[in-house]
């Protein structure tokens, strides 16, 4: 039973239906005569930018389709906890096993004379919007009391509808809860330019009028004509119903981390609740609560709501404003400020110990979501402080800059997802038509951003611009996949701390929701177990992607590609001759030279693989692992042996590194390079681990990427000897293997954990580095077995031959 047909309650039901569609017979009571609609988008309805029908989330047919009994326009006035039933104002009663309260909040009405006159309203539901639209048609003057988020949206809407609007605000600055003084001033000026009038420090004394409101009188004696007064001075959680039923309430209905009230069979979510002393009035926290609450209603019982960080954006077209977290700062914080009054841009980021605590932005809010993400992740920003305020576009990810303005200026036919050929118009239409809220939903319905992921930022920007920017991008703790609530980090921790040594053991201990996982979690778990228990864990072939199961790269026609390892990219005529002979023997349709200095045989039927590998093995070749989340290549230049600029023997070092690292499984593919001098012909500064030889030794670089999203490496440190290069390389690889999430390249991993951290683990902590390197080398004693030779001799034979041939 749900009381409150609003966004929080309905979201909980939607989540519940996803988890346990048949668990409950569901009844919903809603006081409003409408189906569930998107309250956030009332502002655009008021300005005329949207129709009411466009903001309906679940229409009547949806309720019917899911077998939900909906009582529209029936306010519940009593809960009988003993008989477990509720009674509505019209006498309808219904019984419940579990009750979910989502009664929302009401606008706070100032206790001044005249506050109940016709024409005095709040700004909360569609009825209020209808009243405002009606008033705008008949009358001229409006006063909005309250210059906060809601008040300004109402004022802007009324002005758009042709009214002359005065905003009376008690404090001396607008939106004082979300903005600091400089940003508030800029906002006030631009709203004044549009025609709004403001009375700051205005104390309302009385609402004047007889049969209808006529004006507003202030304490200082001033009076303003008003045919409509909108009170937007705050909201109050609707707790009367809960209070009457004897549930413990303070400012809101008090709930635990599982969203239960003091009566364990009664849950509550949304604006009516008080959790850890906080009440929330924004949508993102409500959705987080809904998810947790649904989990408990479905009897999974494994997630907790631990409070939310929130950010705000003003939905007034043409005004960009963003704030989040603690943006005022205190004596332990620092501020970085950019202020350009002429261009109307103001940005402030508050830092503590190089981590973002809060941000305020005005005029240019493109990077709001980015700052918010950095804040929630607690990312160390010391490496980018000098560029932070210029935004994400200035961090050196070439070709990806200035995302938000790029998407807004794109035409509907612009291709967003190059992998799946999805255009902007299709994505926007799908978001609107299917009422999508999250990146995952957009991926499922349009395929955009579901392949290489390089357009994820663009898709997120489209989501934000289509929905109004209120929606949380990614939850702070992201579950590994829909099979579990646990994050990658939680799972890795549990594997070690609980000594979990098989995939089924992980499923049992962490209460997986599916009997045997999915194609997202199983490969990740297989890798995590392999890293945690080297030599002990038996690799689960059926949890590996086909390429790693068959040790070759599947092509679009179902044939495979074969790339033998060519150590350091150096070869001999004899090697090339045997490769040529093998290519001819098997009539290889295409031979290609790869970017990693190797030779690729394409179009090999699966059954032919073991025989071809046998021949390659005979000729001295081993697998190049070009198909795996594994060590790929070590690219080298010829170095000082030949090159007149060479400073060290880069080829020999590259070969040594490849001999040390080959065969290792890594979270994602891992590429290395060694350049013989700073001219860097081996392109070491776009590799996961790059060495640039200099006269005095070796410069080590990490976290580069030349593919999806180009990123130059970060400089780790300089060392003197090849032995040190190898130790640092092994240590870097091992921290990455032990701590990165599966399918996370070093580039995003280094950005996530911070270069400072990587430096500390690999460069500064000498004892720790030695231990890491030793763990890597130990794991290599089990990993360096050539999979091709083994299969040529008959291992996994069933993988390569048909079960049966029927004539």
């Amino acid at each position: 039973m749900l009381v409150g047909n609003g966004m929080a309650g309905m979201r909980t039901l939607e989540e519940l239906l996803k988890l346990a569609p048949d668990k409950y017979a569901i009844t919903v009571f809603g006081a409003e005569p409408h189906p569930n609609y998107n309250r956030i988008l009332l502002s655009p309805v008021l300005t005329g930018e949207k129709q009411f029908s466009e903001i309906v989330l679940n229409d009547d047919a949806w309720y019917a389709e899911h077998g939900i009994t909906l009582h529209k326009g029936k306010a519940v006035i009593e809960i009988n906890r003993r008989s477990r039933s509720v009674r509505a104002a019209d006498g309808t009663t219904a019984a419940y096993d579990r009750l979910l309260l989502a009664t929302g909040s009401s606008p706070f009405l100032l206790p001044v004379p005249g506050n109940n006159l016709p024409g005095v309203i709040g700004f909360r539901d569609f009825a209020d919007v209808e009243t405002m639209l009606l008033a705008a048609r008949e009358y001229r003057h409006a006063v909005v009391i309250g210059g906060g988020l809601l008040g300004l949206e109402a004022a802007n809407g009324l002005m758009k509808q042709g009214m002359k609007v005065t905003v009376v605000h008690l404090p001396d600055a607008l939106m004082e809860r979300q903005l600091d003084a400089p940003a508030a001033k800029m906002l006030k000026k631009s709203l004044e330019d549009r025609g709004l009038e403001f009375v700051l420090k205005g104390v309302t004394k009385e609402i004047i009028g007889k049969n209808r409101v006529h004006g507003v009188a202030l304490e200082d004696g001033r009076e303003f004509t008003a045919d409509l007064v909108v009170m937007a001075v705050g909201i109050r959680p609707n707790i009367e119903l809960a209070k009457k039923a004897g549930l413990y309430c303070e400012r809101g209905v008090v709930v635990s981390d599982t969203l239960q009230t003091y009566d364990p069979s009664i849950y509550a979510v949304g604006e009516c609740v008080q959790h850890r002393k906080q009440t929330y009035g924004l949508v993102a926290p409500l959705f987080e609560q809904a998810k947790v609450c649904a989990n408990h209603l479905a009897h999974f019982g494994i997630s907790r709501y631990e409070g939310s960080m929130t950010s705000t954006k003003l939905k007034v077209t043409g005004i960009d404003l963003f704030s989040a977290g603690n943006f005022t700062g205190n004596d332990q914080t620092e501020e970085i400020v950019l202020q350009d009054a002429g261009a109307g841009v103001y940005k402030k980021v508050v830092l503590k110990d190089n981590r973002i605590q809060g941000a305020v932005m005005y005029g240019d809010t493109m990077d709001g979501a980015w700052y918010f993400q950095l804040m929630r992740d607690g990312t160390d920003v010391s490496g980018m402080r000098n560029k932070l305020l210029f935004g994400q576009a200035h961090l050196g990810d070439s070709g990806h800059g200035d995302i938000k303005s790029r998407v807004s200026s794109m035409s509907d036919s612009t291709e967003i997802c190059g992998c799946n050929g999805v255009c902007k118009g299709v994505i926007v239409k799908t978001i609107t038509d299917k009422k999508l809220f999250t990146l995952d939903e957009v991926r499922a319905h349009t395929k955009a951003s579901s392949s290489c992921g390089s357009c994820t930022g663009l898709v997120e920007a489209l989501l934000a611009s289509t929905l109004g920017g209120d929606y949380s991008t990614t939850p702070k703790k992201k579950p590994m996949c829909p099979c579990t609530e646990h994050s990658h980090d939680d799972v890795r921790l549990a594997i070690r701390s609980q000594s979990l040594k098989t995939i089924p053991a992980v499923f049992r201990a962490l209460e997986w929701k599916t009997p045997d996982g999915c194609n997202k979690c199983r490969p990740a778990l297989n890798f995590y177990l392999l890293v945690a228990w080297p030599g002990e864990y038996a690799d689960d072939n059926q949890s590996r992607f086909i390429n790693e199961r068959a040790h070759a790269n599947i092509q679009k026609d179902g044939t495979y590609s074969v790339i033998p390892r060519i150590w350091g990219g150096e070869t001999t005529p004899a090697q090339l001759r045997s490769l040529a002979e093998i290519a001819e023997k098997y009539q290889v349709p295409t031979v290609h030279i790869t970017g990693g200095q190797r030779i690729d045989f394409l179009g090999i039927p699966k059954e032919t693989l073991p025989a071809m590998w046998g021949d390659l093995s005979q000729a001295g070749f081993v697998s190049g692992h070009a198909y795996g989340k594994a060590i790929r290549t070590v690219k080298t230049c010829v170095g000082k042996t030949w090159c007149r600029f060479g400073t060290q023997d880069s080829t020999a070092l590259g070969i040594e590194l490849e001999k040390m690292t080959w065969g290792s499984w890594t979270p994602h593919k891992f590429k290395l390079a060694v350049s013989g001098c700073p001219r860097n012909c081996a392109e070491a500064t776009i590799k996961d681990f790059g060495v640039v030889c200099v006269d005095s030794g070796y410069e080590l670089h990490v976290g580069g990427n030349g593919g999806v999203k180009v990123r130059a490496t970060d400089f780790l440190c300089a060392v003197k000897t090849p032995e040190e290069v190898k130790e640092y390389c092994a240590a870097f690889l091992q921290v990455y293997r032990e701590e990165a999430h599966y399918l996370e390249r070093t580039a995003p991993w280094v950005e996530r954990v911070g270069l400072t951290y990587v430096k500390q683990r690999v460069a500064e902590d000498a004892a720790g580095r030695k231990k890491l390197a030793e763990r890597f080398w130990y794991s290599q004693t089990f990993a360096q077995v050539d999979p091709w030779a083994a299969r040529a001799k008959g291992a996994d034979r069933h993988e390569f031959i048909p079960l049966k041939q029927i004539a």
Binding site: P515, R522, Q542, F545, I546, I554, G558, I806
Partner: protein, 114 residues
Amino acid sequence: MNDWIEVGTLEDIPRQGARVVRTAEGDIAVFRTLDDEVFALRDKCPHKGGPLSQGIVHGRRVACPLHDWKIHLDTGLAVAPDEGCAARFPVKLLDGRVYLSPKIESRTVAGTAG
């Protein structure tokens, strides 16, 4: 009537995996789930023809190795919101032996897949 052909034993197919049966009309993928259920589908993803036999089997689904479409093993239908269908073949298990009828089962599937 189905023409049952014995194609091998249950043990020949890896659990959570598949094997291919070659026929003149094209490959058929024979799947074995964690619970030792056996299903057979045309070895062609309805999306771009990827070999479903090479995918990761989880629950009663297989993920196509080319573009990660998920296909219901019991109905051959693509998991929503994707749309498409791989042809099904009758398959049965008798005394640990797998029998296949290389004649396509009715293409129309009533109701939605579970």
